[in-house]
Symmetry: C2
Subunit: 261 residues, 2 copies
């Protein structure tokens, strides 16, 4: 099943998506949604980010090639993570499918994409095991963890390098059933394929992350976990359009523009 | 004016607090709240955290003595922050005044308090200057940035060291007017004063942080900025009770208990 969050006539709600027909519901799709009786055509609604999480989790480094290539770019030895220590991103930076990523006028030029699988939590969960970790997962969507590498390396935190407004595109929809092992992540820049990798080829998988995290923290419905990315991105410039496609999850497409002052 | 968030008869809402009388309102105090006509005695309601922020900001290191004493404990040179790079904490960890801080059974023993001034945002804001930064501030409350130092230093992120469930007490209320320059932070452990410092003696002040942050990010109503702490804490153990008092903001009091399994 496929869910979108959308705005029509100034009201934001969820709806199930079947072909190009949106069936509006009240409440959230993981909380016994009720049909309102209204349907819309997909092209008649404004897509929103599929959820604004209570806590926005992000694995960061979680694929081997990404770690090797990023280290090579910086001329340092690759450092593989010893444990599944989860990181964070910030809600201010979220934008929907189709919206602009706005590069600040004073940002250095190392603007990179990172195409990521996003896990959407549907049930409150603590002390899960790898065997039952997926019981709290509602579905999946796509994230683009846009990063400015000079700020990422030079600042004490990721506040500008990762969490500048518009640096976290997420969408277009939440899919409840996927085949993780068959899934591929494909990133296109201006229509040309730039990167392709097996989505589930993670250093620490989804079940392991959820089991580790829930030893110490409670996951809540609507929380998201961005699972990291493989490979590396070229430096993006004003006018570039980045599409992140994941098998079964559609395409997350965002133009990049540089602010003029 | 003083605002609390509270639950009574299973319903959570805001109310203004005058003496020990709570006047319930609909909506949030920064968004044209309307009285419901109901009042309660303070001791008849359950206090909640004053706000669950959209984004939970935290300055981290922002006082000179804290930096010097923490460096001395670790046997390293003190490192003062070059710029006001804001950090983050996570909503899962929030607990209210009076609630237990639960130390996980397997946590190392370096459990510390950090008594902090919390700025509560009331208006959406971007591109503020130091001169008009306070225009987005609704009020102030108290935070205790509980930390386990072994995890904080050894993990790749602050996920366990700072964001374990219950490690972020906040409250008891939001006060809209304060005298920042007269304010003192006092921390008591088991009723005995352990630390006292001038709250506004920050390396980077509130106006500077807000001006820097809003160059790149939008602040939203309900966002909070925890401003950091001075001094250092003893290692806390099961049964300790920590009170953080800030002049004009009351006392945030939380028992610490260690889980048994």
């Amino acid at each position: 099943m496929r869910w979108i969050r959308f705005t029509v006539d100034g009201q934001t709600s969820y709806g199930s998506l079947d072909g190009d027909t949106v069936t509006q519901v009240t409440g959230e799709p993981w909380a016994e949604p009720q049909p309102t009786g209204k349907t819309f055509k997909l092209d008649a609604v404004k897509l929103e980010v599929p959820v604004v999480p209570k806590t926005f989790y992000c694995a960061g480094i979680n694929y081997a090639t990404h770690i090797r290539e990023m280290a090579a770019k910086r001329g340092v030895e690759p450092q593989f993570p010893a444990r599944a220590d989860i990181g964070y991103r910030a809600n201010n930076a979220l934008v929907a499918h189709g919206e602009n990523v706005v590069i600040p006028a004073d940002a250095p030029p190392k603007i990179n994409y990172e195409g990521e699988l996003v896990v959407v939590i549907g049930k409150q969960a603590k002390h899960l095991t790898e065997a039952n970790a997926f019981s709290c997962v509602f579905g999946y969507t796509i994230g683009n963890d846009v990063s400015e590498r000079t700020w990422q390396r030079g600042d004490r935190t990721f506040w500008r390098g990762k969490n500048t407004d518009t640096f976290k595109p997420m969408g277009p929809y939440i899919q409840t059933e996927v085949d993780l092992d068959a899934m591929e992540t494909v990133v296109r820049v201006n229509g040309r394929e730039d990167l392709r990798f097996k989505t589930n080829d993670m250093i620490f998988g989804i079940a392991h992350y959820i089991a580790e995290m829930t030893k110490y923290l409670t996951l809540y419905p609507g929380d998201v976990i961005w699972m990291g990315t493989d490979g590396t991105s070229p430096d993006l410039v004003h006018g570039d359009v980045v599409e992140v496609e994941l098998t079964g999850l559609g395409v997350l497409r965002n133009p990049f523009v540089r602010a003029t002052a």
